[in-house]
């Protein structure tokens, strides 16, 4: 529109050329100028109806882009002529004086040159003369055909530009700078001019060049080229936020393929299991909010984090709190724990052995919660032995550390997951579960003998008589709960007692307790629902200790092999679970609070 020298082009062609310049500028700056990225931009209109909500400029070349006002606001005004080249320099600015070569101006890492050249003066090349010939014949049909070709060519070229802009190394840098919240000494800037300032010889030698195939117009040609620095060394210094080779974790806790879940699904006592967990949660919660019953005022998870390790009791509480989270979510204490919940670092029961060796979570401070309980083992006599349960080794679903993990916050998360799943399946699948359960644990149902635990964590013959008894009792409780949810408290109590006993006896016993906790955790809610005034459990503390011990060991071991991507995935899962639990827990709020107040008297 502003062009004067290219007046020979028909107005339509003129318009195409002008819009081509504008669109090119838009595309380039969208992926080079901070905060103008379309990456995270979600359009209001669904992609299936691309025409809806499109702006006038989107229709040019059928390429809908995000608004890029900074670049285009006055484009039509400051563009003097289409004959002027449009030169866009992408400049890397270093606030750090050390790496600044050309004082203050930064380094040009990309130069885009968009140019329209006419054939008029020379009339030289074949195309020009051909076009002139056509022009002389004044054939509007041919002109229109050429216009169509020009427009189509521009459309394709702009798509290529859109892609190339993302393939060049500066794009990674751009994303890096745009995505990282931290203050970075580097920044990208751009300079738009209408003349090509020659590079120095050194700069030129450093750069690579790429020229797109030009587009023939009626009286000239449109060309687009880029010079770029092929390797941006600055990128090496930046923290790698680029996608690591992501691998699907098939065995993570929530995965349907996980055996652990399978076990839960097969549990006959969908509603039962939570009873015990409910108690421990209540208990821990009471520690937090109770009238200073026994222990030192337990810090909220957030508070305890920095000093979690030095005091054995604190970690214990932390883990308990984690366990109690679901309940807290439904109670007033919910907010405090929210951040904590999201910290669950990993699928606790992931079978992959690679997770075991680590001793602490890398980097992420949030994970310290998990590791804090590690110290606790002292409190429980059998703590040291717990992590290495003898039989778990051979089992795929539960590696030793996995067993230990069970009662930990992770365990809790598992329980919650199960809870969610149970909630979905509860109504119609209970029977199926019972049946499938029997497939795994024949002994339990018939009360004859325990060849395996339901979780397949370990072989039962490694358990002593008492443990077996406990297990049976546990089963009984579970079955009872299936039928009568209201009696769960008694069952809980019994189970807790058992668990307390087992914690001091042998690692296997502790594991048994953990397993039971796992199973019982989900049904907490049911227990809460049914009993408004639950019996105060007297011996849960030992169970809790066991839990924390094992938890500590397992979490630390499983942490190492995890990547940030894994953790992110898990966090998402946990968040979903948390939300579902929160929703479900709201209705039970009153009941849970009542129950919690009773548990204050923990030793």
């Amino acid at each position: 529109m502003a062009s004067t020298a290219a007046a020979a082009e028909p107005p339509m062609e003129e318009q195409v050329i002008t819009e081509f310049f504008a669109k090119s500028l838009h595309i380039i700056l969208e992926s080079r100028s901070p905060y103008e990225s379309s990456r995270n931009f979600t359009r209001p209109s669904p992609p299936s109806s691309p025409l809806s909500g499109s702006q006038p400029r989107d229709r040019w070349f059928n390429l809908a882009l995000r608004d890029c006002p900074a670049a285009l606001e006055n484009f039509d005004l400051w563009r003097q002529s289409n004959l002027e080249p449009l030169v866009i320099d992408i400049v890397l600015l270093c606030r750090d004086s050390t790496s600044n070569s050309s004082a203050g101006s930064g380094n040009i890492i990309e130069r885009w040159v968009i140019q329209y050249e006419t054939h008029r003066s020379g009339g030289g090349n074949g195309n020009g003369s051909k076009n002139n010939g056509r022009k002389s014949r004044n054939s509007s049909a041919e002109d229109h055909s050429l216009y169509r070709t020009t427009y189509q060519g521009s459309t394709i070229l702009l798509r290529s530009l859109h892609l190339v802009v993302r393939l060049l190394p500066a794009y990674s840098l751009f994303r890096e700078l745009n995505s990282s919240g931290r203050i970075c000494p580097l920044s990208l800037s751009h300079k738009i001019s209408s003349f090509v300032e020659p590079f120095t010889r050194a700069e030129d030698a450093e750069m690579k060049h790429y020229a797109f195939a030009p587009i023939e117009t009626l009286f000239g040609r449109l060309s687009l080229s880029v010079s770029y620095v092929p390797v941006l060394e600055v990128m090496a210094a930046s923290e790698p936020t680029s996608p690591m080779p992501t691998e699907i974790i098939k065995d993570y806790v929530g995965s349907p393929t996980t055996d652990f879940l399978k076990k839960f699904n097969s549990l006959p006592s969908v509603g039962i299991a939570p009873a015990c967990a409910a108690m421990t949660r209540r208990h821990s919660w009471s520690i937090e909010h109770g009238a200073g019953a026994s222990m030192s005022p337990s810090p909220s998870p957030t508070n305890s984090e920095p000093r979690g390790s030095p005091h054995p009791n604190i970690p214990l509480r932390v883990s308990l709190k984690t366990c109690s989270h679901p309940q807290n979510a439904s109670s007033s204490g919910q907010k405090k724990y929210t951040p904590f919940e999201e910290c669950y670092p990993s699928p606790p029961l992931s079978p992959s052995p690679s997770h075991s060796p680590s001793t602490s979570y890398p980097r992420n401070p949030l994970f310290r919660y998990e590791s804090a309980p590690v110290i606790i083992p002292k409190s429980g006599g059998g703590g040291s032995g717990l992590p290495l349960s003898p039989c778990s080794k051979g089992k795929h679903q539960f590696s030793p550390h996995n067993d230990n993990l069970a009662p930990s916050p992770d365990d809790n998360s598992n329980a919650r997951k199960d809870l969610v799943r149970f909630g979905e399946l509860e109504k119609d699948k209970t029977l199926q579960k019972v049946l499938s359960y029997s497939k795994y644990d024949l002994g339990y149902f018939h009360g004859l003998k325990l060849s395996r635990t339901s979780s397949k964590l370990f072989i039962m013959d490694e358990l002593d008589e008492q443990e077996l008894a406990f297990a049976r009792e546990d089963r009984d409780t579970i079955i009872d709960q299936l039928n009568r949810v209201d009696i769960t408290d008694r069952g809980e109590q019994r189970m807790n007692q058992d668990a307390g006993g087992s914690s001091t006896r042998s690692p296997a016993a502790a594991i048994g307790a953990l397993v039971r906790l796992l199973k019982t955790a989900p049904s907490l809610r049911e227990g809460l629902q049914s009993d408004a005034a639950p019996v105060v459990p007297q011996e849960p503390s030992s169970v809790q200790k066991v839990v924390t011990e094992e938890h500590g060991n397992t979490t630390s071991s499983s942490a190492k092999a995890r990547t940030a991507a894994d953790a992110l995935e898990e966090l998402k899962k946990y968040r979903e679970i948390k939300e579902s639990l929160l929703n479900r827990g709201k209705s039970q709020l009153g009941d849970t609070e009542l129950g919690e107040t009773h548990t204050d008297g923990e030793p």
Binding site: S48, P50, N62, G153, R166, A213
Partner: protein, 214 residues
């Protein structure tokens, strides 16, 4: 109308990378040949540090994914060999019936051949032993990362090949429709036909009068 063909550079890749690579390439071609209004959608490759652009058409994404799944299934049955995926664009015209064509005839105006050599995941190189050793050591990891880096650079080359071809050869493209051009994605499907091409494809090739340049 002549049919332009583009043979893309062969990529040597592992089965698990097929999806990533084929998505990237197919969508890049579609992006360059979908001249109706699109809202570009950036997509990051899973295995490579490459961002490509999709048209933002869910139906197309679904179609591509389905075809890729079929191809992956075929590859599982025919490991360690070179194979081809062909993306063809055509016009459909109702024409005079000939002795073995239907009422409508497909006039192919462009074909893209994506050449892949799927290698055994355990050991790269053209290993024919089915019992490849499981490499867990650091050396294997190093090899695999260097192999992936090489593949990434090859994908870059292929993408630029697409860009160059798409911009250089465009006179044959029909008028811009208000939707995506007619197209088909052909994958090898039958072991008994030449190069795995199924007879359906061969028949269409014969019909269209554009022999595949194999």
């Amino acid at each position: 109308m002549n049919c332009e063909t583009c043979q893309l550079k062969e990529l040597e890749l592992e089965p698990r990378e097929i999806k990533d690579v084929l998505r990237c390439i197919l969508h890049t071609i579609f992006f360059h040949r979908t001249l109706s209004l699109v809202r570009p959608k950036d997509v990051d490759c899973d295995f490579f540090e490459i961002t490509y652009v999709q048209c933002g058409l869910p139906e197309l994404e679904k179609e591509v994914d389905e075809k890729i799944d079929q191809f992956v299934a075929w590859i599982e049955k025919h490991p360690n060999r070179s194979s081809q995926v062909c993306l063809s664009f055509f016009d459909e015209k109702s024409k005079h019936p000939s002795w073995f064509s239907n009422k409508t005839e497909r006039i192919y105006w462009e074909q893209w051949f994506i050449n892949l050599h799927v290698i055994s995941p355990k050991r790269h190189g053209k290993s024919h032993s089915s019992k490849a050793l499981t490499n867990i050591g650091g050396q294997a990891l190093e090899e695999s990362s260097s192999r992936r880096a090489a593949l990434e650079s090859s994908i870059h080359e292929v993408l630029f090949q697409i860009i160059n071809f798409a911009n250089e050869k465009k006179d044959h493209i029909p008028a811009i429709p208000d939707r995506i051009f007619n197209h088909e994605i052909s994958i090898p499907s039958s072991p008994d036909s030449m190069f795995g091409w199924n007879t359906d494809v061969l028949r269409r090739v014969l019909n269209s009068g554009h022999p595949y340049s194999l």
